[in-house]
């Protein structure tokens, strides 16, 4: 069956390459370095002195109770947070050693490197093909043959090619919620990003679709750096390499996922991951 036990999955992966993981951790480059990031919505101090380094080709999970600033932080990484008119930031976020909060940095350029998958599946009311081709088209690719290739590659990358290859020109709204979310992931892959931000990508999905997306994330981290915000602690434990615990706009603890869930240093982290609040 396609429904594998996620816990077995995780163990089997660790069994296969236990040493490799440690070695690669040493050599891993950082994609994002956040330094003293503060963010306000009007008078509300939503993020306080965030310090966080995010590694290449890893899955970094951000957990925490509602309203703790985890989605805000994620949206700051591609500056989507600027869609809120009253937002103000100080500090630095270095993406590949360039400060993205610098107004000189064009958001359009940043967002081509840093794709995003949203909480609710949000395909465009267009055909599946046009959904995937949207990104390449806005960046100037017109050649039909190249677009065909990108569409197929992206849909295969999001593990949904077989399900939709015969109905590429049908409206994406006709798909199930889980399929729509994988279409959105494929659409994100089509701009060939370096980092993928995921904002609770499975919170609107059923368990089987959730599992498919989780398996996909494991697959994608070979080529992309993934930062995922999740409400679901089991999910963070299953799929991430590192976990950051946010509380009231601060990073309480940031460490390897195993450590956060088995042996957290901070009492509050322990209380949260053991379900005592949140």
């Amino acid at each position: 069956m396609m429904v594998n036990n996620p816990i077995n999955n995780k163990f089997s992966q660790e069994d296969e390459q236990p040493n490799l993981k440690i070695v690669s951790n040493e050599a891993k480059k950082t994609v994002y370095q956040t330094q003293n990031l503060d963010l306000w919505y009007g008078d509300t101090h939503a993020l306080k002195g965030i310090q966080l380094d995010i590694n290449e080709n890893e899955v970094t999970a951000i957990i925490g109770p509602s309203g703790c600033g985890k989605s805000t932080y994620l949206k700051t990484l591609n500056r989507m947070v600027e869609l809120v008119p009253s937002v103000r930031t100080t500090g630095e976020i270095l993406y590949r050693e360039r400060n993205i909060l610098d107004k000189e940095y064009a958001v359009e350029e940043l967002r081509t490197k840093v794709g995003m998958v949203f909480q609710k599946p949000n395909p465009f009311p267009k055909s599946i093909y046009d959904n995937i081709a949207y990104g390449p088209r806005i960046h100037g690719i017109k050649n039909r043959r190249i677009l065909d290739e990108i569409v197929e590659k992206s849909l295969r990358g999001a593990a949904i090619w077989d399900e939709v290859k015969d109905r590429l020109h049908e409206n994406a709204y006709g798909l199930s919620g889980g399929q729509q979310q994988r279409i959105c992931i494929a659409r994100c892959l089509a701009i060939e990003p370096d980092v993928i931000l995921m904002d609770e990508p499975t919170s609107a999905l059923d368990p089987i679709s959730t599992l498919k997306v989780e398996e996909l994330v494991q697959e994608l981290k070979k080529n992309y750096s993934i930062i995922i915000v999740t409400h679901n602690m089991q999910q963070a434990a299953r799929i991430s390499d590192k976990t950051a615990f946010f509380l009231n706009g601060e990073v309480i603890e940031y460490a390897a996922t195993d450590k956060i869930f088995s042996n957290p240093s901070d009492k509050r982290t322990e209380d949260y991951v053991s379900g005592r609040f949140g």
């Binding site: 081509t112 267009k126 994100c188």
Partner: protein, 292 residues
Amino acid sequence: MNYLHEDRVKKRMASRLIKNKLLKSFFLGATLLSLVVLAILMYRMISQGHAYLNWDFLTNFSSRFPQNAGIKAALIGSLWLLAVVAPVSLLFGVGAAVYLEEYAKKSKLTTFIQMNISNLAGVPSIVFGLLGLTIFVRMLSLGKSVLAAGFTMSLLILPVIIVASQEAIRAVPKDLREASYGMGATKWQTIVKIVLPSAIPGILTGGILALSRAIGETAPLVVLGIPVIIHFLPEGLLSEFTALPMQIFDWAKRPQEEFQYVAAAGILVLMIVLVIMNSVAIIIRNKFSKRY
């Protein structure tokens, strides 16, 4: 313990049901009233006008003799007017709506502008006529031309188009914009590829209704001094012209009884033009919504 006693509920039941029935008939009557009035109007126009409504009526110019009078100059004039009003008002109306919804930051100034646009929609059309007379006819020396009247009518319906377009744009889910921005699209790309295609059915509905108003509006044309007795067709945007409502107005005020029938025939032509316009709107709307 029960608060609702069975016998008391039963006692009040009859009067409640009667009230329910009475009000239902009142609401039905309110709905039918407008339909009945429209039906009587249509019946009178058709019974009075049908004798004059023939091919000659469409291809003749107006005349002192009712049997020779035709609507050619007014019909073609109205189409010229429409050819100016439609592009001008839609371009500026949708442009203003896009600015207000997508670009403008919420501030006291934009709230003020917004309020004024809504108020402008309620300004009597004769005021717009005076505005057009001052600015287009006199200051810009456009004369009583198609262009002057077209600009005046565009100003008249602009607020309606802006408000309708704003509502259509606002109804496009925020998710879709975020998805587009999230892939590095610029604001303009997002507007043109995501927002406007989704908003077009709404924009067209509002737009065509506003254009229908422009076609039927008489007062501004009277103020601009648009002539009624014209025996030529407009040759360009700066030609003098006449329009359907002006022609109908002229016939209706003539003393001979036969001209009342001619006026009725003119109204029928105007109604047919409006029905065609609305059908086109529906067709375009369906075509656009099918794409998604």
